[in-house]
């Protein structure tokens, strides 16, 4: 096998560097996609360990394991890393691997910029994680970086701001690459309305990133100059307004949550038709629903801020615009269900994760609707109900779709089928563990337990203990996933070119594993 790989390398147009230089200098979309996915997996275990520390401290009321300030550092870093270091890089990794394969392009539009986009990420990751060892420890002001707290912290706050700048730059470059690839490099005959849903969702996500990441960069730049150069954007003593930061941040932040979920919609829209052996129901409505969600996401940001004070008219506007998003989202959920309707269903691991996604994401969507109601939100703001909500959409939503996508495309990437028993074990442990962690948090939130606290009132003990037990089940079951991925890379049953019986699309026409260079002559789509 290694002989064959070597022979293939020699066949290339120039000598490939080997060892670490191969990965540092690679411009191949498949290499870079793998780098993104490995980075994401390492960060998943890093930030996941932080989550387990958080849950350990919360197993009992009172302070057991750590100083409260360290607890705050953990919650902040858990959030920042899970969002910027796990979910976003994983989706970008999928885009790198799949977009060229799905549209019949030989590579991404700007391969060298692609290399840069990736290698900026570990730099930012080291800056974030390294700040734990700085005087005062890592940032502890929450991942939303609200002033005045964020203006008062020590040097790690400056470092975090720079890390956010770097990650933003990486995202913007990655997005430019993805849009340019999709718009300019589709195979002849592959019109926009024939593109796979995953490509569509990423096209729209990339536009969202280009529109909002610079706004985040602006907001944190203002924090930086407030901290170091005597400006007063957010400092009330100098005529600024801390609430303005929240407006600017959430102008980025709300589109950001759709950046974290639209590619998930795309992955699920690829998987459900495959295992239902039917084309996606309502393809065009799926495209329009995705675009509507993206456009509406710019009009709802202040629903994160109902409790900071806002006139009733503004509360009503943001409440109704938020609820309006449920309409295109509902279109999507109904389309997935309709795709499965009367399909010839089989339940391999990717399909199981995709179905769990549809069910559990919908629960997260519904708790989102509850939170969208301004009078209810004033009660639930900053409680565990919010924690339950966004973990349902981010864990059983975004993360489960990533698992589904890995199981779905891993045979194409490695040439080996994964072990189905291990996959199903991983699925059931994850889905049960995840619900044990996060479902009780709804009750905790409704009962009034605030989030981001290391200690709590006695009456919250039982539900917290259940959540902690679930967290350890969920956390350690991810080791099953790691073992499965490593085993699949090393060997396993040979995967066919089409891999899945019902799979449709250009990526399934290339051999498994996908050769280093694909579609050097563009395929023709009828």
């Amino acid at each position: 096998m290694s002989d064959a790989a070597h022979a293939h390398d020699d066949h290339g147009h120039h000598a490939h560097p080997t060892g670490i230089m191969r990965w540092l200098t690679t411009t191949n979309h498949k290499d870079i996609g793998s780098l993104y996915l490995w980075f994401s997996l390492i960060m998943l275990f890093t930030a996941g360990s932080m989550a387990l520390l958080i849950r350990s401290e919360l197993f009992e009321p009172g302070m057991q394991l750590m100083h409260p300030d360290f607890f705050n550092q953990l919650t902040t870093m858990h959030g920042l890393i899970m969002i910027f270091g796990v979910i976003m890089p994983a989706f970008t990794g999928f885009a790198n691997w799949q977009v060229p394969l799905m549209i019949g392009a030989p590579d991404m539009a700007f391969p060298r910029m692609n290399n840069w986009s990736f290698w900026l990420l570990p730099v930012a990751g080291i800056m974030l994680l390294g700040s734990f060892w700085l005087p005062g420890g890592a940032v502890a002001g929450g991942w939303t970086m609200y002033p005045p707290l964020f203006i008062q912290g020590g040097v790690s706050y400056d470092l975090t701001i720079l890390a956010v700048h770097i990650m933003g730059l990486s995202s913007i470059m990655g997005s430019i690459n993805i849009i340019t690839t999709i718009l300019n490099m589709r195979a002849p005959g592959l019109t926009l309305m024939k593109m796979p849903m995953f490509v569509w969702t990423w096209l729209i996500t990339a536009y969202l990133l280009i529109a909002t990441m610079p706004v985040l960069a602006g907001a944190v730049t203002m924090l930086l100059t407030d901290r170091n150069f005597g400006t007063h954007f957010f400092n009330a003593a100098g005529g600024g307004d801390p609430v303005m930061f929240q407006h600017i941040f959430w102008f980025f932040g709300h589109p950001e949550v759709y950046i974290l979920i639209l590619p998930a919609f795309g992955i699920v829209s690829q998987i459900i038709p495959t295992f239902s052996r039917k084309p996606l129901f309502g393809y065009a409505s799926m495209v329009y629903a995705t675009a509507s969600i993206a456009i509406l996401s710019f009009t709802v940001w202040a629903h994160h801020m109902f409790a900071v004070g806002m006139p009733v008219a503004a509360q009503l506007f943001f409440m109704f615009s938020t609820m309006l998003i449920a309409v295109p989202t509902g279109v999507k959920v109904f389309n997935w269900v309709a795709t499965m309707w009367k399909g010839s269903l089989t339940f391999e691991t990717p399909m199981l994760f995709a179905i769990a996604f549809v069910c559990l994401f919908t629960i997260g969507g519904f708790s989102g609707l509850v939170l969208a109601m301004a009078p209810v939100d004033i009660q639930l703001q900053d409680t565990y109900y919010v924690v339950a909500h966004f973990h349902y959409v981010l864990v059983s939503g975004a993360l489960f779709s990533i698992f589904a996508g890995i199981y779905y495309w891993l045979p194409k990437w490695t040439g080996h089928m994964y072990n189905e028993t291990l996959g199903k074990t991983h699925f059931w442990l994850s889905v049960i563990g995840m619900n044990i962690v996060f479902f009780p948090m709804h009750f905790l939130g409704l009962a009034g337990m605030p989030r981001r606290i290391p200690d709590y009132a006695l009456q919250f003990t039982e539900f917290n203990q259940i959540a902690t037990v679930g967290a350890f089940i969920f956390g350690f079951s991810q080791l099953v996933f790691l073992v499965l991925v490593l085993k699949t890379i090393k060997g396993g049953a040979k995967a066919s070119d089409q891999v899945w019986e019902g799979a449709q699309g250009l990526e399934w026409t290339v051999p498994s594993p996908a050769p280093y260079h694909t579609f050097e002559t563009a395929p023709v789509v009828k």
Binding site: A109, I172, I176, L183, V215, D241
Partner: protein, 184 residues
């Protein structure tokens, strides 16, 4: 093909830079929205509106500063006089400097001209409320914050607020009087 890619790249970079600028443009936009709609008028709400300003007349207030002979300080007003409406919140500053080589505690005592105007000076903050200690060579600006009661007699057009600083050490009065105090 390559021209198409460069074209897309240029457009997207322009959008990204534009949105970076837009982030900063949100700052004045935010204040403008608040101003036009009156949404974030916390500043005005937090100050109780003074509806008792009598804008129908002007009163001239003259300020005067004196030092008792026992006190080697230089004491002056930063403004000779101002014109205000009765009921309006007024802040003026006096300045004292200790010219001696040791710390001295002084106390300012006000007087009014005409004397009946004194009843209408409503002082909110004044350096005369407490003894003031000045170190050797120290110079200090001290505020007086007051409102002229709008019910003040209509025939009063000019009033005088005068302060005299005294040394709080009773011995100083006589001991230092002959040699140290400069005249004027």
């Amino acid at each position: 093909m390559t021209a198409g890619k460069t074209n897309t790249l240029t457009k997207l970079i322009v959008v990204a830079l534009g949105m970076f600028g837009f982030g900063f443009a949100l700052v004045p936009f935010y204040y403008k929205i608040c101003e036009v709609t009156g949404i974030n008028s916390g500043d005005e709400q937090s100050l109780v509106k003074n509806t008792q300003v009598d804008t129908s007349r002007w009163v001239t207030i003259e300020f005067d500063a004196n030092t008792n002979e026992g006190l080697p300080w230089q004491f002056r007003t930063t403004q000779r006089s101002i014109k205000v409406h009765p009921g309006q919140l007024v802040q003026v500053e006096y300045e004292a400097a200790n010219n001696s080589d040791h710390a001295i505690v002084g106390q300012a005592v006000p007087s009014y001209g005409p004397a009946r105007a004194g009843a209408f000076f409503k002082k909110i903050e004044c350096f005369c409320f407490t003894p003031q200690k000045l170190a050797a060579g120290e110079r200090r600006q001290m505020p007086v914050l007051f409102v002229l009661d709008p019910s003040m007699d209509k025939d009063l057009h000019t009033v005088t607020l005068s302060y005299t600083f005294f040394n709080t050490d009773p011995k100083a009065q006589t001991a230092t009087l002959p040699e140290k105090v400069p005249h004027g």
